[in-house]
């Protein structure tokens, strides 16, 4: 409601705004102020799933054994190197020597053992336990060596170690990390004014290249028009992912600002309840896939072109196969398929939508497109907790629109109880083979097979990849513009 009113207000104001001169405020050149939409609930990435936590702390305050660079490639983090033994289950990590936590405690192999065992303890609230469940044993022969033996070969074990959920913490400070985080990263925590800002300062003891800027501030601005105003007024130097796609043209025309549209791992889908009639009929799902004009949906949601998808996989991954041509927009074919399935005049169903704009705006367009083949989709907006309860956990839905923002999550299609209830033993067997395949080339080939299987079964309507809209001052360099994992590493950010 507020959002729509703000949109109208924004449109009305754009005309006035363009008449006004832009006054640049003086910038503190040894610091940077970053705007974000959501405030993290805590600062501990090992005890909650909120993306905002990772956006603030990952590779700034906290580091894992393995890090990720801006292209999504795994690079050495706290471990300077690692090897996988011929048994394909024993990893040996060589740790960097002489690293200290922000409180002065020397980092060693025992911290790694502590962190991973803590993540699987009975009282652990780690949101991604799957990263650690393959671990059979952790050994620490000396302070700079860690050997991890897995129960079976696990392809994505190393990848998981780059996630925020696998950062290395210290036993002395772990319990307080939610409010007073202590890590090993290039920045250390200074202050958190809840509701407004979090402040970091450069870690002068950092083991790697020291950050160029002495101070970093994250500010939280949830209202889309307020985000635009703060950027234009010079209150903030950058915004990580702007919530106001309709303001992009206005910002692009501002010579003091730089707008970059990047990619995320957010596969956005029209999910269908594969266990519930009429969606249990492949022909119905295929008809719906043919009725979805992805380009129109994406344009209607964002106002600019984004990456379309034909399966549940991100184009950022090297194993990506372009399947966007599988179901071209074809109303005649869609109607024919519906008739074959026994619904020549369509049917009525519900479309339950969570709050994000891509779902609410996208839902309106999807409903209009489906109406063209006689399917009446009644829109039911839900708040996110209710969506989680009813749609995701209760599986009480016909269709919904949601973005799966976690990277490389195609494996969810092998879960019988997963909310869209795709049950295919063939796919499950394939995912098991992928999990056990540690050779990159072979695994990527198998990922290709998995990607093809999903549109073949028309499991869901595959729509587009969520874009990441980064806006920075024109003379600020080094901000990440893609999100292979949601994070905002600031060590490489500098003023020109």
């Amino acid at each position: 409601m507020t959002t729509r009113r703000n949109l109208l207000a924004g449109a009305g104001l754009a005309a006035i705004a363009s008449q006004l001169p832009l006054v640049a405020l003086a910038q503190a050149r040894d610091g940077v102020t970053i705007g974000m939409t959501l405030e993290p609930p805590t600062l501990d990435p090992t005890s909650g799933a909120a993306q905002a936590i990772r956006e603030v702390v990952l590779q700034n305050l906290f580091e894992g054994l393995v890090a990720m660079d801006r292209t999504g490639a795994l690079v050495p983090g706290l471990a300077e190197s690692w090897t996988l033994a011929d048994d394909k289950v024993s990893y040996t990590f060589k740790l960097r020597p002489n690293i200290r936590f922000h409180d002065g405690e020397p980092f060693s192999s025992r911290h790694v053992k502590f962190s991973f065992e803590r993540a699987t303890a009975p009282d652990s609230t780690n949101a991604q336990r799957w990263i650690f469940t393959p671990i059979a044993a952790i050994e620490t022969p000396d302070p700079v060596t860690v050997t991890i033996r897995l129960k079976q070969p696990t392809a994505n074990f190393l990848y998981g170690l780059a996630w925020g959920d696998a950062v290395i913490v210290s036993p002395a400070t772990a319990a307080d990390n939610k409010t007073k985080p202590v890590g090993t990263g290039p920045y250390r925590f200074v202050r958190w004014n809840r509701g407004d800002r979090i402040e970091f300062a450069r870690n002068d003891e950092y083991w790697g290249e020291k950050p160029a800027l002495a101070k970093a501030v994250f500010r939280f601005i949830s209202d889309p028009q307020a985000q635009v105003a703060a950027l234009r007024a010079g209150d903030i130097d950058a915004f990580t992912n702007l919530s106001a796609p309709e303001s992009i043209k206005q910002l692009q025309s501002d010579s003091k600002l730089k707008v970059t549209i990047g990619r995320t791992e957010g596969e956005t889908i029209l999910a269908m309840n594969n266990a519930k009639p009429p969606f249990d009929d492949l022909r119905v799902r295929q008809a719906i896939s043919h009725a979805l004009d992805r380009k129109t949906i994406a344009l209607g949601v964002f106002g600019f072109e984004v990456d379309l998808i034909g399966s549940h996989f991100s184009p950022m991954h090297p194993a990506y196969v372009d399947l966007t041509g599988t179901y071209p927009h074809d109303l005649a074919k869609a109607k024919a398929l519906l008739a074959q399935a026994g619904h020549p005049n369509g049917f009525t169903c519900t479309l339950r939508l969570p709050p994000p704009a891509y779902a609410r705006r996208g839902g309106e367009i999807v409903a209009a497109l489906l109406a063209q083949i006689g399917i009446v989709a009644k829109i039911e907006p839900l708040e996110f907790p209710q969506w989680l309860e009813r749609v995701f956990r209760g599986r009480d839905f016909d269709m919904t629109i949601i973005s799966h923002t976690e990277p490389l999550d195609i494996g969810n299609y092998a879960r019988d109880d997963y909310y869209f209830q795709y049950r295919n033993p063939e796919f499950k067997a394939l995912m098991q083979r992928i999990d056990g395949t540690v050779d990159d080339g072979e695994r990527n080939r198998l990922y290709g097979d998995a990607q093809r299987m999903l549109p073949r079964d028309a499991v869901n309507g595959f729509l587009f990849i969520l874009p990441k809209i980064t806006v920075t001052r024109a003379d600020l360099d080094g901000m990440w513009t893609d999100w292979p994992l949601p994070m905002t590493p600031l060590a490489g950010v500098r003023w020109r």
């Binding site: 609930p41 336990r129 809840r194 509701g195 800002r197 949830s222 996110f384 209710q386």
Partner: protein, 315 residues
């Protein structure tokens, strides 16, 4: 007078208890599990169970209600589900923004609205009156979040005099903090000033018809003095009533304005905690707002007595 006070206080406590029960029950039947919201789509069932225990959600509802009431009486509002800090601390931090903001807005509204209303009444049916009525119409018609955006465009983006939003905190001195509050307070105050101007004007016009006003004029008191001493003062009763009502409207308006200006106040906290399903904070905040409104109405009733001695004697 003291018997009256006692009776009022008892009914006040009863009102709050009923409010607490309603708030608790409504949030109890709301679907959605705070632990699931915190841990997201990939969470393992063991992790969810561990978090539910940590949040105290595994206890039966009546027990949690009693614990909540008991906690409130001892000043312990529990631990926020999302922030994991005491709710009292959260509310304290946010009060330091919202109370000054609302007070600032009330002051501005009075400073603008009451003189304008008096001016209109004094110039009844002349140009001054018409101008004030146009202002009041506009002030009521413009939604305050839109007026807020307009102010940001003019003074933050255009002139660059004031920040577009955010709050530097009081530790940096009162100057920057008040600067950050000026635009949002103005945006909040405008509709209130418009209402006050209207109420003041009509109350004064009504009072001018009273016999005692004619008597005062007849015995030779100047028009200006009659307006100030007899008319305005007697017209203040409806104005104070409206002011009391407005404070609750201001709190509601603050939810929107604090979002437009990214201010870390109570309104934004309400918004955030509802979105994140931080039910314990929602519960405490709604209770706090109830208590504030109830207490405010009580104060307004006491104020009547101060303004109008007749009401004091009658009770």
């Amino acid at each position: 007078m003291s018997g009256y006070l006692l009776r009022r206080l008892v009914s006040l406590a009863a009102t709050l208890l009923v409010a607490a029960l309603v708030i608790f029950l409504v949030l109890e039947i709301l679907p959605g599990d705070p632990a699931a919201v915190t841990l997201g789509l990939n969470a393992a069932p063991e992790a969810l169970a561990a978090l539910r225990t940590e949040m105290g959600l595994d206890r039966p509802a009546p027990l949690r209600f009693l614990a909540w009431i008991g906690g409130m009486l001892t000043g312990d509002l529990g631990l926020s589900y999302t922030y994991r800090v005491p709710v009292t601390q959260l509310i304290g931090e946010r009060m330091a923004v919202t109370l000054p903001l609302a007070s600032f807005a009330i002051l501005l509204a009075c400073a603008i609205g009451i003189p304008l209303g008096a001016l209109a009444a004094a110039h009844h049916n002349r140009a001054g009156d018409a101008a004030v009525m146009v202002f009041a119409q506009l002030g009521l018609a413009i939604p305050n979040f839109w007026f807020g955006l307009l102010l940001v465009l003019l003074f933050a983006i255009g002139a660059g005099w004031l920040p577009a939003g955010g709050f530097p905190g009081w530790e940096g001195g009162a100057g920057p903090a008040l600067k950050a509050l000026l635009l949002p307070a103005l945006a909040l105050a405008l509709p209130q000033a418009a209402i006050l101007a209207r109420v003041t004007r009509s109350a004064m016009l009504e009072t001018m018809q009273e016999d005692y006003v004619r008597t005062a004029r007849a015995k030779g008191v100047s028009r200006r003095r009659v307006l100030r001493r007899h008319v305005l003062r007697n017209a203040l009763i409806p104005v104070v009533t409206v002011l009391g009502l407005q404070f609750s409207v201001l709190l509601a308006g603050a939810i929107i304005i604090e979002n437009v200006f990214a201010l870390p106040g109570l309104g934004r906290l309400v918004f955030q905690s509802i979105a994140q399903h931080d039910l314990i904070v929602v519960k405490d905040l709604v209770m706090l707002f109830c208590a504030l409104v109830v207490a405010l109405n009580f104060v307004v009733e006491l104020l009547y007595g101060l303004i109008d001695p007749r009401l004091r004697q009658a009770t």
